[in-house]
């Protein structure tokens, strides 16, 4: 039984998140239809509308899931019921109004019927990731303010906060406040893009690296309530926040190479975005250490798997696939091609897995039902389908993107030729997306079953599984080293487009080979890492020596 009644207020937010996740996947599937047959949907639901749904459903469900997690966690942290429960109910209603309102007005972009007032677009924004118009922004922002009020009123005074809570609150606050600059309409495209990245990039930095680190530090402290853990977590959070903030704030510059901003960003942004792998690598290495030290068995296996998902996608998708393309010399080639969604899809999946992990964590506690065999096995299937599906999808984007670089930038071929060159990889994207969708069905089914139906009383006990390379933490630092090496190979692959071999002799062996080795290799390492991490923790093999 959840300790506090007000924790149940998390449920509507969680439900909105699960529904919006479905909308995101459907929109993604329809986007794939466009790549297979461009005429089928044209004029009915245009590509840009579907893409707007795809991105915004993602953002809204992440917001919603984060709200749910915070509402669930705050009473436990403060040891009393939530302050202002009426406000929270109102907030849930406002969230639904916001989502429905924004989604209902997006279709107007098919005829260009936006409404402008005070020099600002009211209904939608026409800017990637921040498409919700000013009207909805104001509603959302009011929601943030009310939410912060509820959280701050409910929590004990800040003096008593552990650093992890500071990280969570600060990360969330930064993400919310930096929602403003990206949304303002500027006449100049470089200025507009400059501030749009403040929003989008700092969401990643603020929300993923700082707030999620804080959230999982708190979970760790909740599971193992000894002062020593608090010390370890405090230290770990502090390193992570400082490194993520310094490298993230300056690493922002990798968005400023080619948008009309000054040349110095090529130096500053280049160096620091390369160093952005520092906090994420440290995070991964620290996690191994903490996992190795942990003596308690983690019973909520689905949540655990998704936590591993954040870690692996954070390392491979965010840090290393970012490293492939962040050097100015490689970014010059890959910018504006399908190589970017390779990084984007794996990076965003780290967020998604974080949110799903929080949902899975809170659910059994709220329903007060045991974590039974079916819950775990469906949750695990959901994880593997989503994980592998997303990797196949993202890798297909990357490989198609490498061909696009050649046909588009070097040959200067017409767009139809570029589309043809990328076409074979659409199969991989559709296949991977299909796997993610099946994974989603498993996830939703496991959650709804747990919420609505009776489950057997017998909790899940991990079977005795023989130790092997695939379910122990042996040799993880070596694997991380291999992954870094593969990322450098990928960077070399993109850079080799500048070589005479490609430009003069038209030989594509070097870039194609290096890129394939890198992207496919990183995909394999990601699966291997996930398997080692998740299963060693599940079967308890981490306990006997690391």
């Amino acid at each position: 039984m959840a300790k506090f009644r007000s924790q149940y207020l998390a449920l509507p937010f969680a439900l909105v998140a699960v529904v919006l996740f479905f909308v995101q996947l459907i929109a993604g599937g329809l986007l794939a239809v466009y790549y297979i047959s461009p005429d089928t949907l044209s004029g009915i639901v245009n590509f840009n509308l579907l893409r707007t749904y795809h991105l915004n459903a993602l953002l809204f469900w992440l917001f919603s899931a984060t709200f749910a997690a915070v509402i669930y966690a705050v009473p436990v942290l403060s040891g009393r019921e939530l302050w202002g429960q009426g406000l929270v109910k109102l907030l849930a209603l406002a969230l639904i109004v916001f989502v429905v309102g924004a989604f209902a007005t997006f279709p107007l972009m098919q005829k260009g019927e936006n409404v402008w007032a005070f020099g600002q677009p009211l209904l939608y924004e026409g800017k990637e990731y921040v498409e919700a118009g000013r009207l909805w922004d104001i509603l959302l922002f009011a929601g943030f303010i009310v939410f912060s009020l509820v959280v701050l009123k409910s929590l004990p005074p800040p003096k008593e906060w552990p650093l992890a809570l500071w990280a969570l609150v600060m990360g969330a606050a930064v993400a919310f406040f930096l929602y403003i600059p990206g949304n303002i309409f500027f006449k100049s495209v470089p200025t507009s893009e400059y501030f749009r990245w403040w929003t989008v990039h700092y969401w990643v930095e603020g929300a993923l690296e700082v707030a999620f680190a804080g959230a999982f530090g708190l979970i760790l402290m909740l599971i193992i309530p000894v002062p020593e853990v608090r010390k370890v977590v405090d230290k770990y959070i502090f390193y992570d926040v400082v490194l993520a903030a310094v490298s993230g704030i300056l690493g922002q510059g990798h968005h400023y190479f080619w948008i009309g901003t000054p040349t110095f960003w090529i130096l500053v942004g280049g160096v620091f975005s390369v160093l952005e792998i520092v906090p994420l690598t440290l995070m991964a290495l620290e996690a191994i250490r903490i996992a190795g030290k942990g003596k308690a068995r983690f019973v909520n296996i689905p949540s655990l798997y998704y936590m591993v998902g954040i870690l692996v996608f954070g390392l491979i998708g965010v840090a290393l696939l970012g490293l492939v393309q962040t050097w100015p010399w490689t970014n010059w080639w890959e910018h504006g091609t399908w190589v970017t969604p390779l990084h984007g899809h794996e990076g965003m999946m780290a967020f998604a897995m974080g949110a799903i992990s929080l949902l899975y964590f809170a659910l059994p506690d709220l329903t007060d039902k045991p974590i039974d065999r079916t819950f775990v096995s469906w949750g695990k299937r959901a994880f593997w389908l989503m994980f592998i599906g997303q990797i196949i999808l993202a890798t297909s984007f990357g490989l198609g993107g490498v061909r696009q670089i050649y046909y588009y930038w070097i040959q200067g071929a017409p767009w139809s030729v570029v589309m043809e060159a990328r076409f074979p990889f659409v199969a991989g994207i559709a296949f991977g997306g299909g796997l993610v969708f099946i994974g989603y069905l498993y996830m939703a089914a496991s959650m709804l079953r747990h919420l609505l139906f009776q489950v057997p009383e017998e909790p899940y006990e991990p079977p005795k599984v023989r130790r092997s390379y695939f379910n122990t933490l042996d040799g993880i630092p070596f694997l991380v080293g291999v992954a870094v090496f593969l990322a450098l190979v990928g960077a070399a692959g993109l850079w080799s487009f500048s070589s005479t071999a490609v430009l003069v002799h038209g030989s594509l062996w070097v870039p194609y080979m290096l890129s394939s080795i890198s992207y496919v290799g990183l995909a394999a390492v990601a699966v291997l890492l996930a398997s080692k991490f998740a299963r060693s923790l599940e079967y308890g093999h981490h306990l006997e020596g690391v």
Binding site: Y34, L49, R51, P262, V418
Partner: protein, 333 residues
């Protein structure tokens, strides 16, 4: 410094920070061993560095948004038929262009980059003709008024002229006088193809066989020999420049090099070894590097070489901290 200026700054900053961090790491080995287990090392320094990086980004924001010296054209001053680029930007937002295209490389990847198209098309007339051709088609299934098309044309002209550090990668045309070329280099064909697609394809067809009645079949070698015999190279150039029949004049819209290249490209449809008609100019790849933009930007103080040394020092400062912290905190656990 010559070429690879960026690379030199970049690599030296990286190497210097790495060396500095390693030195401090080794020098501090004793302090690391004796530090208390409970405390968080470098607590104050860490907080200071976060604040310093925030100050840095706030300080460079005015420079990055054109407030100190114009780096990019002013969107209010770029106009076409009386419509400004600002108006065009609003229309681009209303139709969510970024949801299919990329703008300065950001956006969806379903349709071509708009800066790239604008540069490829070159002139306002070409840009407008492209917009006119695609609006209302299955690719852009919506209607636009003439005024909206004018505004979008202005906006794309603005995009064309943005100073994007030489991105997107495009083969650049450099004319080297006095180099006789027996055969056409690949680059000429590239340029010719671009010019052909932007200007000629609509009537002459993508395969060169001609779409509109009265256009010749470029794939026919006999037509080429007859033309070269009767009119000569100069005659062909004159046809492009002055127009003939329904064909419009391209004088002023295409440079001599472009006319040269487009003739080479058109003739390549016939499968003949394309001889370079003018013969004295050579087109070379020069665009496949963003290096030259340093030279092009040196007149703004914050992008001058002197300023770059300052950025280099700042970069080394922060980078040393990051690398050192990584080593220190990892080693200490």
């Amino acid at each position: 410094m010559g070429s690879f200026v960026y690379l030199k700054f970049f690599a030296s900053a990286m190497a210097t920070s790495l060396l500095l961090a390693l030195t401090i790491f080794i020098y501090n080995a004793r302090r690391r061993a004796s530090a208390g287990a409970g405390e968080i090392p470098y607590f104050k320094l860490g907080k200071f560095m976060v604040i310093a990086s925030i100050i840095f980004i706030l300080a460079v924001t005015p420079l990055s948004t054109d407030m100190a010296g114009r780096r990019n054209p002013s969107p209010e001053e770029v106009t076409y038929n009386g419509a400004t680029a600002v108006e065009g930007f609003r229309i681009a937002i209303d139709y969510n262009c970024m949801g299919c295209h990329t703008v300065v490389g950001n956006g969806a990847y379903y349709a071509p980059d708009l800066n790239y198209i604008a540069r490829k098309a070159g002139t306002a007339e070409n840009i407008r003709a492209l917009l006119k051709a695609f609006v209302g088609s299955k690719y852009m299934p919506f209607n636009m008024s003439e005024r909206e098309l004018d505004a979008l044309t202005a906006w794309m002209l603005y995009l064309r002229d943005l100073n994007t550090n030489n991105w997107p990668p495009m083969p650049r045309v450099e004319v080297v006088e006095g180099v006789p070329a027996a055969t056409a280099p690949n680059e000429t064909l590239q340029l010719g193809r671009q010019v052909y697609e932007a200007n000629c394809q609509a009537c002459h067809g993508a395969d060169g066989k001609g779409l509109v009645p009265g256009t010749p079949d470029f794939t026919d070698p006999a037509w080429w020999s007859a033309m070269l015999k009767s009119e000569g190279l100069e005659g062909l150039v004159a046809v492009v420049k002055n127009g003939r029949g329904a064909m419009p004049a391209f004088e002023g819209r295409l440079s001599d090099e472009e006319i040269n290249a487009v003739l080479v490209y058109a003739r390549s449809f016939s499968g003949q070894t394309a001889q370079q008609p003018a013969g004295e100019k050579k087109l070379v790849f020069g665009g496949y590097s963003f290096e030259p933009s340093f030279e092009a930007n040196k007149d703004r103080w914050y992008e001058s070489m002197g300023a770059w040394y300052v950025y280099w020092v700042i970069t080394v400062f922060f980078a040393t901290f990051l690398i050192y912290s990584f080593m220190y905190w990892y080693a200490r656990g």
